[in-house]
Symmetry: C2
Subunit: 111 residues, 2 copies
């Protein structure tokens, strides 16, 4: 047969596996730039400073920050009128684990 008979399906954001969900948050250059800035902050950075660093209007920055937050990569805290973002506690291990789940070797070293 030419293809297998398979039910039509639309794999969408809804059924993203954990790892894919994480990488999806990382796959935009502007968002990656924001995450980098947050990651290098010591230990946090407010939205106004982030706004100054990218060529995007404020609502767009806000959108990207939400995506990063929803992915569990950053956390935020309000102080007065400012909102401070910082790297989430388990951010790096989480991404490393996602990678490991892909590249994990299940062969036994010979010997």
């Amino acid at each position: 047969m030419r293809t297998k008979s398979k039910p039509a399906q639309q794999a969408r954001s809804s059924d993203l596996t954990g790892a894919a969900k994480l990488f999806r948050a990382l796959c935009d250059p502007q968002r990656l730039r924001l995450l980098t800035l947050i990651s290098r902050a010591k230990p946090e950075i407010c939205v106004c400073d982030l706004n100054d660093e990218v060529s995007l209007v404020q609502p767009t920055v806000s959108h990207h920050l939400r995506v990063l937050k929803d992915a569990g990569l950053v956390t935020r805290e309000r102080r007065a009128t400012w909102m401070y973002y910082r790297l989430a506690d388990g951010a790096k291990p989480k991404v490393r684990a996602a990678l490991a789940s892909i590249f994990a070797r299940n062969d036994k070293a010979k010997g």
Copy 2:
């Protein structure tokens, strides 16, 4: 002022930075599954076997494989009518480097 005055722009796949480009290849669950299968193959796997593992028609699998190949994550080699895919040599380091570029700390440990 409310936002800064900024030129309208459409950041699209065209100007994806290296790291974002890589993560974009990783952000689909089916593609991730294919990459995992390729990664665990010893050392290669043909398209027909990949087809059997996912609920996608053959052209869609072919499409995902091309994305992985264009991202430099896998290589392929034809033998007879079969096409064999394997993990690209620098695949893992490449992704690790992309991650490092985001999470790199540029603070000096207090000493």
